[in-house]
């Protein structure tokens, strides 16, 4: 059973009495690549964490098409700063499979396959923390995708990477998209958003300003703030 449609109603998260995001109303139907955009502090990361269940909902509700346990199993998250297990590349890739009870030989085969897909096949025995930033992010991406989740959250995955690493990661994301995986990704990079987005959620002050197909957003943004953001103006 698919995760989508995802329904968000009055969702809000607060910390020490301060509302970080919300109240939000969203309907996501699995458009392919959903890009979450907005200025710094607009709540992009919090929205992703909220949808993923990593941030606590203090009001409202988030409802998946399937039960919550299945929804959690069918998701993965890639962080802006990749978290590496203190293990080898191979062991990092095998970890999510072993959590799910996949036998070691099969886990190893799948890990080697994914390492090849992201260009880390020559580094299986190296310790993950010894990899470069780009290599670590590719490893984090492969580790998130190895269980073939239906939905992948990505929090500015290329923010700290150079052009080459960004291009390689975008290629992996396109392949994932082509294979049917749904992506919800935050980014600051307008060019990247144009290259990847099927739909855009534009956030400001923790609220959804626009949720439209990508072409519509980039060609004819409805809100003044979105127009200013696309022009490169400072949006407050």
């Amino acid at each position: 059973m698919s995760l989508f449609p995802l329904s968000v109603r009055g969702a809000q998260t607060s910390r020490r009495g301060k509302v970080l995001v919300g109240p939000l109303d969203l309907d996501l139907r699995g458009a392919g690549v959903t890009i979450v955009m907005g200025p710094n502090g607009s709540g992009k990361t919090t929205l992703l964490r909220l949808l993923h269940g990593a941030a606590r909902l203090t009001a409202g509700q988030i409802t998946w098409a399937c039960d919550e346990a299945q929804a959690r199993r069918e998701q993965a998250f890639v962080f802006q700063r990749p978290v590496m297990l203190r293990r080898s590349v191979l062991e990092n890739l095998m970890y999510p499979l072993q959590l799910r009870g996949v036998a070691k030989p099969q886990a190893r085969t799948q890990a080697e396959d994914w390492a090849t897909r992201v260009g880390l096949d020559g580094m299986l025995g190296r310790h993950a923390t010894h990899l470069s930033g780009g290599e670590q992010q590719k490893l984090a991406l492969a580790r998130a995708m190895i269980t073939q989740p239906e939905l992948l959250f990505l929090d500015e995955p290329t923010a700290a990477l150079d052009g080459r690493a960004t291009r390689e990661i975008e290629a992996v994301l396109r392949a994932a998209r082509a294979s049917g995986m749904q992506l919800i990704m935050s980014t600051h990079d307008l060019g990247q958003a144009r290259r990847l987005a099927d739909e855009v959620i534009f956030l400001l002050h923790g609220a959804v300003q626009e949720h439209t197909p990508a072409r519509e957003f980039f060609d004819a943004p409805k809100s003044i703030q979105a127009r200013a953001f696309l022009r490169g103006d400072i949006v407050e």
Partner: protein, 234 residues
Amino acid sequence: MGDLWAGLSEAFRLLVTLDSDLVEITLRSLQVTLSALVIGSAIALPLAAFLAVRRFRWRRSVIAVLNALMGLPPVVVGLVVYILLSRSGPFGVLGLLFTPTAMIIAQVIIIVPLIASIAHQSLRDLWSEYHDLLISMNVTQGQKMRTLLWDARRALLTASLAGFGRAIGEVGAIMIVGGNIEHATRVLTTAIALETGKGDFALALGLGIVLIGLAITVNLAIHWLTKTEQEGRW
């Protein structure tokens, strides 16, 4: 200075002649301490992992108490274990007083807080690093603990070795609960205390040198076996 030389030559003699008493008490020292270390680590390491990943109401208090117990006076531990295991005590029926088992129990009580506190520091740091990833992977509490224990295993080895160091050199508690009985509960530390009391400083010093050598050898052996300092490993 004369005592020191006499001690060195006595240690040399004991080692070269493989003195049967020395071998016996050395093996008993190792048996008691390594047993206490294995049992203590089996209790302390999962406890440290639990305290790192689990949030509960009295968590901070438990950690504070654990840290405070690192300085637990061995003599008091020995006294409490003695009372518990003595014939009139609640566990007197087990007949464990003045046996190596009683010595192991006392040492476990002494080293568990030490190992758990040191291990908790390492696991807490690792947990702060792994927190978001493991939460996002929806792992169970047991899986979190196992992951932390495995990935921090080399830091945890240091915690266990600190426990070994404390246990192998401990005398107060095991003297009380073991009784320093020849061919039964005499270990290196209690033998040193006995020989010092008798005024045989050379033998006491000789045994002390053997004890230091033993502690260093076990530490080096464990480091070598686990390749702690090998390049690219933790």
